[in-house]
């Protein structure tokens, strides 16, 4: 059976349903308003990061380690140089003869939480200082990388053409230089200068640390510069940059106000990835005896010293090894989390 045809309606006729044109009631208006507030990119990324449980755990671990590393030395009863010759190679929570006598007299003695080392120094505080050095190296190298990398990358990307070509060739060459070898070379070269320096901080840190910072400043930023440049190259073509330029904004202003804020995600990801490799380099050099100068401990030099009594006192290796493992693992996982949160396209 055929359905009856609807009556022919002239498209120009004015047969309109007047119900469609009634003003909306308050209730309907309220429905139209978006219930969700507008979310900026930053907020969105941070929310995604917050949902990543692994990354949040890592942040908590890093903050905890940082808190211990920077506060503990102020309240801890031992210093990293204080020696007790009767307390060599104590197991964790063991007391030396001297300390046992004190306890017998009723004086309370703070326990050696991680035991003591070959020279009778409290090991916990040495591991804490070593951790502090590692964190400082990581943070400083990230800072250097961010500052130099952004400036270099954005200039190269913004001006393009010949400037870009020359600047990127320089980056290519620096990229190919073996950085660890150069750190070692430099630390050998400036050993004498540093050890006779009048600046207390520099002599305390030692030639290795100073050269690590110098080489990081000279070489480590190239990865960041490349990424920032790539980002800038695509942002440069956006209309809002053209608009900004047409009303006479200077290149510095355009880079600062329009380009760098749009590169934030890349910058955060690259910086977070750079931290573990910097920490690795420092501990590696300290292990070889070219990092911090004695008696300042570093996780690398502690592990190196632990080799002497490795078979009988393996805990001397386990503590610094665990510490560096936890730090690097947390930064690695946090870096992955940041990458997922800030750049969903890069997710692997």
């Amino acid at each position: 059976m055929q359905t009856p045809k609807a009556p022919f309606k002239n498209p120009l006729s004015l047969q309109i349903d007047p119900d469609l044109f009634k003003p909306a009631t308050e209730e309907e208006k309220a429905q139209q308003i978006q219930t969700r507030e507008s979310v900026s990119f930053m907020k969105d990324a941070l929310r995604r990061l917050g949902r990543n449980r692994m990354a949040m755990i890592c942040i908590v671990i890093i903050l905890l380690i940082a808190l211990i590393a920077f506060i503990a030395p102020a309240v801890y009863p031992y210093t990293y140089t204080s020696q007790d010759v009767t307390a060599k190679y104590l197991q964790p929570f063991q007391y030396s003869a001297k300390e046992q006598a004190k306890i017998a007299k009723g004086i309370s003695v703070f326990p050696h939480v991680m035991g003591t080392d070959a020279l009778g120094r409290d090991y916990a505080i040495r591991v804490i200082y070593g951790t502090r050095i590692s964190l400082l190296v990581g943070i400083f190298s990230a800072l250097i990388v961010v500052v130099v990398g952004i400036i270099y990358g954005s200039i190269s990307g913004y001006f393009g053409g010949k400037v870009d070509n020359i600047m990127m060739r320089i980056v290519d060459i620096i990229y190919a230089l073996p950085d660890v070898l150069l750190v070692i070379l430099l630390s050998v070269a400036i050993r004498d200068i540093v050890s006779t320096s009048k600046n207390e901080l520099i002599t305390k840190l030692g030639a290795g640390m100073v050269s690590i910072f110098i080489v990081f400043g000279l070489l480590y930023w190239v990865g960041m510069a490349r990424q920032v440049r790539c980002q800038i190259l695509s942002i440069k073509e956006q209309e809002y940059v053209l608009a900004s330029r047409s009303i006479g904004a200077s290149p510095a202003r355009i880079i600062r106000k329009h380009m760098i804020p749009n590169c934030v995600s890349v910058i955060i990801i690259v910086a977070a990835m750079q931290i573990p490799s910097a920490i690795f380099t420092e501990s590696f050099l300290s292990f070889l005896g070219m990092g911090v100068s004695i008696p300042m401990p570093s996780l690398g030099s502690l592990a190196s010293d632990a080799r002497a009594g490795l078979n009988s006192y393996p805990f001397l290796l386990i503590y610094p090894a665990t510490s560096i493992f936890l730090i690097v693992l947390s930064f690695n996982l946090l870096g992955n989390g940041l990458r997922d949160a800030f750049d969903p396209k890069l997710r692997s």
């Binding site: 660890v180 070898l181 050998v188 070269a189 292990f287 290796l317 090894a321 493992f325």
Partner: protein, 308 residues
């Protein structure tokens, strides 16, 4: 092999040569910027002796002449005389040590690549299953451990506690632990690279096409997917070389292997400048050449890549 590729290779080779030249120049300048003469740190010598030594080692000439002489020497694999090991030339010592480092490094690289690719494929093909999870956890842990921690832990476990393997690298079977400790980090890294690139490739359209037209699953995996997923691993060859060479400094010290890394750290402790310069340059040249090779191979393997 087209002309575009040849041009690219020439360009890239030129860059590598330029970088090598820069490394030599930097090494030379840094070592000559040191205020102390290489002979002053030894036992007290009279001025006349130091002068004679400087003439013998050619340190009395102007800097530019010294540099050109040094460069000429380097081109002929002549790095001068060692000041700490008297009577030896730097190149002799390097050649003697090279055999040890090469055998350790080469075995470590092969193991890392083979096992890395294998585990990466296993992990990608079993995505989400327990195999994948175990591999992910283990590799994440391994890339977070510095070489010295891995090496000392292996030494403690296999040599001191279990007594299965000798602690000295020169004893029979002593190369196992150094090779193992050098290969773990690059292996874990390659596994992760291989896993993510394999997953990328397996999701590609041409894999679906191949499956749709009835190609056997094994052929799809090994011929189509694996071949295309290998290119990120190739780009890692350069950094892996750098890791193995610098890692050998730690590992050779821990296991007392008389290789290049040990030679390097020893010459640093004895402030033998000629030796430090020589070994730095040799190591740097190896790293740079490896980078060059992996770059070129990457382009040869994957013709889609734009030769910029």
């Amino acid at each position: 092999m087209n002309s575009k590729l040849l041009v690219y290779m020439f360009k890239r080779f030129g860059m590598a040569l330029l970088t090598i030249f820069l490394v030599i120049a930097i090494t030379f300048l840094v070592m000559h910027a040191i205020p102390a003469s290489p002979f002053s740190s030894e036992k007290a010598k009279s001025d006349a002796v130091i002068k004679a030594l400087e003439i013998k080692y050619g340190f009395d000439k102007p800097l530019g002449v010294q540099f050109l002489n040094y460069l000429w020497g380097v081109v002929h694999f002549d790095f001068g005389l060692s000041t700490a090991w008297v009577g030896f030339t730097v190149s002799q010592l390097i050649i003697n040590a090279f055999a040890y480092s090469a055998s350790i490094g080469f075995s470590a690289a092969i193991i890392a690549i083979l096992l890395g690719v294998l585990f990466g494929c296993l992990s990608a093909l079993n995505r989400g299953k327990w195999v994948d999870k175990v591999i992910q956890v283990v590799t994440t842990a391994l890339v977070s451990m510095p070489s010295f921690v891995v090496a000392t832990l292996l030494l403690l476990l296999f040599s001191y506690r279990l007594g299965w393997l000798p602690s000295l690298g020169t004893q029979p079977g002593g190369m196992v632990l150094p090779v193992l400790s050098l290969s773990l980090y690059p292996m874990a890294y390659i596994t992760r690279l291989q896993r993510s690139s394999m997953l990328d490739v397996l999701g590609a359209d041409y894999i679906r096409t191949a499956r749709a037209k009835g190609v056997k699953s094994n052929v799809v995996i090994y011929k189509h997917a694996l071949k295309n997923a290998l290119s990120p691993v190739i780009t890692y060859a350069g950094p892996m070389m750098a890791y193995i060479l610098t890692g050998s400094m730690v590992v050779e010290n821990i296991f007392s292997v008389p290789g290049l890394g040990r030679l390097f750290t020893n010459s640093m402790l004895r402030t033998d400048y000629m030796m430090i310069m020589g070994v730095t340059i040799v190591l740097a040249v190896m790293i740079i050449l490896m980078n060059f090779l992996s770059d070129v191979l990457y382009k040869v393997m994957d013709p889609r890549i734009d030769l910029a």
